[in-house]
């Protein structure tokens, strides 16, 4: 314990007070445990942002230095990590970790030390119900994620049967419930509604219940693994719904194509806060820099990357505006109703920290690429395929 205490104290950089050293930004990232896949993408997003911004003069003329700690997807560790970042490493700002589960305790810590927490991947309702004034989510919050899709469905289809299934998760479930409430209010019948635990590895029974219902519309609150599995099961069950939307999975680029097969992707939809071809602020620069730094193609960039990048962008604009590293000035300014730009589109904060300007997109796989299809009038959407092609009918 002694050795630790000494080491913890000794490792604090002396740069805290100076205004000429780099601006340090602390983040706890989940590099192992349940969120490890997304945690890595989140870290890469922040790294891409720091590299980009540093190539463009940093913030307030100072270089950005990222300070990452790993939390193993555990709230216990996340609490320790943010305290270390703030009180030992004396970072100038903190940005959010991955997931609602971890954002909640870490925003409390940030609040305790008077730090603002700009986050992009913790949009579950519980984050905003804490009564904190220091949390700002640059992405669309959970209950609005599927709203663009639901509105489109109501506008273009007469009421039909809908099958819902979701993982019990503080982000996914509110997302699904949001869509279900809207659709039910507009006459769509909910014929299947199944919740399943995180530990589920065999999705075939749930898939076969949905297949048996022959519902033409399927809405799934999935993470990538179950997102892939459901499609695989539907194909095996020879059940091809007319409309299929999954919370995540189809947004995973080549990983998704590899998992479900290129011929089966056509028509599958996914709500998203970002896409590689977006014309939003600094997006093309981010995409090319990411590919330069981490390899791959634009299509295999995870949305987590863009979300993390957006959090950085909002921080950049706000700090450049207030011209200081004061967290209280930052909090005040973020609450002022100012509009910010990000790779995910405009950002404007409600008093509870939700982004009121967020326009959740809907994307659809068409001919082997994930195309921006909704909403009409934002960017350059491609016409939507109202009916999903049959399995195997090509991308």
């Amino acid at each position: 314990m002694l050795a630790l205490a000494a080491a913890a104290c000794g490792s604090s950089p002396s740069s805290s007070g100076t205004s000429h050293g780099p601006i340090t930004i602390g983040v706890s990232v989940s590099l192992s445990g349940d969120f490890s896949g997304d945690g890595l993408a989140t870290k890469q997003g922040y790294e891409t942002w720091a590299a980009f911004q540093n190539a463009h003069g940093g913030i307030l003329g100072r270089k950005i230095q990222m300070d990452f700690l790993s939390d193993g997807s555990s709230p216990t560790q996340v609490v320790t990590n943010y305290q270390k970042l703030i009180t030992v490493n004396h970072v100038n700002f903190v940005l959010g970790p991955y997931s609602t589960l971890l954002t909640k305790p870490s925003s409390v810590i940030a609040n305790r030390y008077g730090y603002v927490m700009i986050e992009a991947i913790g949009g579950g309702p519980s984050v905003f119900q804490q009564g904190l004034h220091n949390v700002f989510d640059v992405s669309a919050s959970a209950k609005y994620q599927l709203i663009t899709f639901a509105k489109w469905l109501v506008a273009t289809h007469k009421p039909e049967d809908v099958a819902y299934a979701s993982m019990t998760d503080p982000f996914l479930q509110p997302m699904l419930d949001g869509a279900r409430a809207y659709l039910s209010a507009h006459g769509f019948t909910s014929v299947v509604y199944k919740l399943y635990p995180l530990e589920t590895t065999d999705y075939t029974p749930i898939a076969s219940v949905i297949a048996a219902s022959k519902a033409p519309v399927v809405v799934l609150g999935t993470m990538p693994p179950d997102g892939y599995a459901f499609i695989q099961d539907f194909i095996q069950d020879r059940y091809s719904p007319k409309v299929l939307i999954e919370a995540s999975g189809p947004d995973q680029g080549t990983a998704f194509v590899k998992a479900v097969g290129a011929n089966n992707t056509g028509g599958i939809m996914v709500p998203n806060t970002w896409f590689p071809g977006s014309t939003y602020y600094q997006n093309s620069a981010m995409v090319s820099l990411y590919i330069k730094m981490f390899g791959g193609t634009a299509n295999n960039i995870s949305a987590d990357v863009a979300e993390a990048f957006s959090a950085g962008q909002v921080l950049t604009q706000a700090v450049d505006h207030i011209k200081s590293t004061s967290n209280s000035a930052l909090e005040h300014y973020l609450h002022s109703g100012a509009m910010f730009q990000s790779v995910q589109g405009p950002v404007k904060f409600l008093p509870d920290g939700e982004n009121s300007a967020a326009t959740p997109f809907v994307f659809q796989w068409q001919h082997g690429t994930l195309e921006d299809v909704l909403p009409a009038g934002v960017g350059h959407p491609v016409p939507i395929l109202a009916v999903k092609p049959a399995w195997g009918a090509g991308g």
């Binding site: 919740l195 399943y196 029974p205 076969s208 599995a229």
Partner: protein, 290 residues
């Protein structure tokens, strides 16, 4: 019909769970050690088949010709380096040592393959055939058949060969086995090798039917342990029956009630069974004194 479909799904998936759990129960039966690393061994097997498939385009089923002997050797190495030196309190100490081995293996796998989820996706992974209105995914049928063949092979090895006799002798009375000249150390080493090789085969199927990363091992090991306890420690057929029962119960509950209650139901049944039969379904009767 849905229930019947769920039962069939449960049986098919249960087959390859039996393969993974069989390795665990065999090792326990012979050595009284709990191979807590079996979960990560399954994941290792999945990664090996994945790597051979993506880099050398070797079909996953064919890759077993390479991965199973490879993992067999790993099992032997783990025995001599980790299990053999344990002098006392084998059940608990082996559990802790194998937990540590699993942690190290998880770290290494994470380092080599990163924590991005991957899945082995062969062209035939989405195929299925129908009998009446029942659907049989090809991959599950192949996996089930392979599991049955491998389990039968292990069964033959146990009950029809000289090695099997010495293995069973070591299982029943290690001291007496040593007295009649059986090298129980090598028997144990081979057994762990076989157990881990079974994990390699199970892992290949796991990698074909699930997307996975190194952290997938935790869910796996808790299921496998439950199966082994349910079936009775040391019993191969018990593991098979318990795997199938577990999956059938979960799938049927998921269909008729809710997936969230599937696992709860299984655990409740597990507890009830154990209260009546503490040694599990087919476990050896004598539960040793504490």
């Amino acid at each position: 019909m849905l229930v019947l479909q769920a039962i069939i799904d449960g049986i098919l998936v249960g087959g390859f769970y039996a393969l993974m759990a069989g390795g665990l129960t065999l090792v326990f039966g012979v050595m009284e050690i709990v191979n807590f690393a079996q979960g990560i061994m399954v994941v290792l097997g999945a990664y090996l088949s994945y790597a051979l498939f993506t880099h050398l385009s070797i079909d996953p089923f064919l890759s077993l010709v390479i991965t199973m002997p490879g993992m067999f050797l790993i099992g032997i190495a783990v025995y001599w380096s980790m299990i053999r030196p344990i002098k006392q309190d084998r059940v608990i100490m082996s559990l802790l040592v194998m937990f540590a081995v699993g942690t190290i293996a998880e770290g290494i796998l994470d380092l080599v393959f990163t924590s991005n989820l991957v899945q082995i996706s062969t062209p035939y992974v989405n195929n299925s055939f129908t009998v009446g209105s029942l659907i049989f995914p090809d991959i599950y049928v192949y996996a089930f058949l392979m599991s049955v063949v491998l389990l039968a092979g292990v069964y033959y090895l146990l009950y029809r060969t000289r090695f099997g006799r010495s293995l069973r002798a070591s299982m029943q009375n290690p001291t007496a086995a040593r007295l009649v000249g059986i090298n129980t150390d090598w028997v144990s080493a081979y057994t762990l090798g076989i157990g881990v090789a079974m994990a390699a085969a199970g892992g290949m199927v796991f990698g074909l039917t699930n997307s996975f990363d190194a952290a997938s091992s935790y869910d796996l090991i808790s299921r496998l342990l439950a199966i082994v306890i349910f079936g009775g420690f040391g019993s191969l057929s018990g593991a098979l029956i318990a795997s199938v029962l577990m999956l059938v119960i979960q799938d049927v509950v998921a269909v008729v009630w809710s997936p969230t209650w599937g696992q709860t139901t299984f655990y409740v049944i597990l507890i009830l069974i154990l209260l009546v039969r503490p040694q599990g379904l087919l476990g050896r009767k004598a539960v040793r004194a504490q």
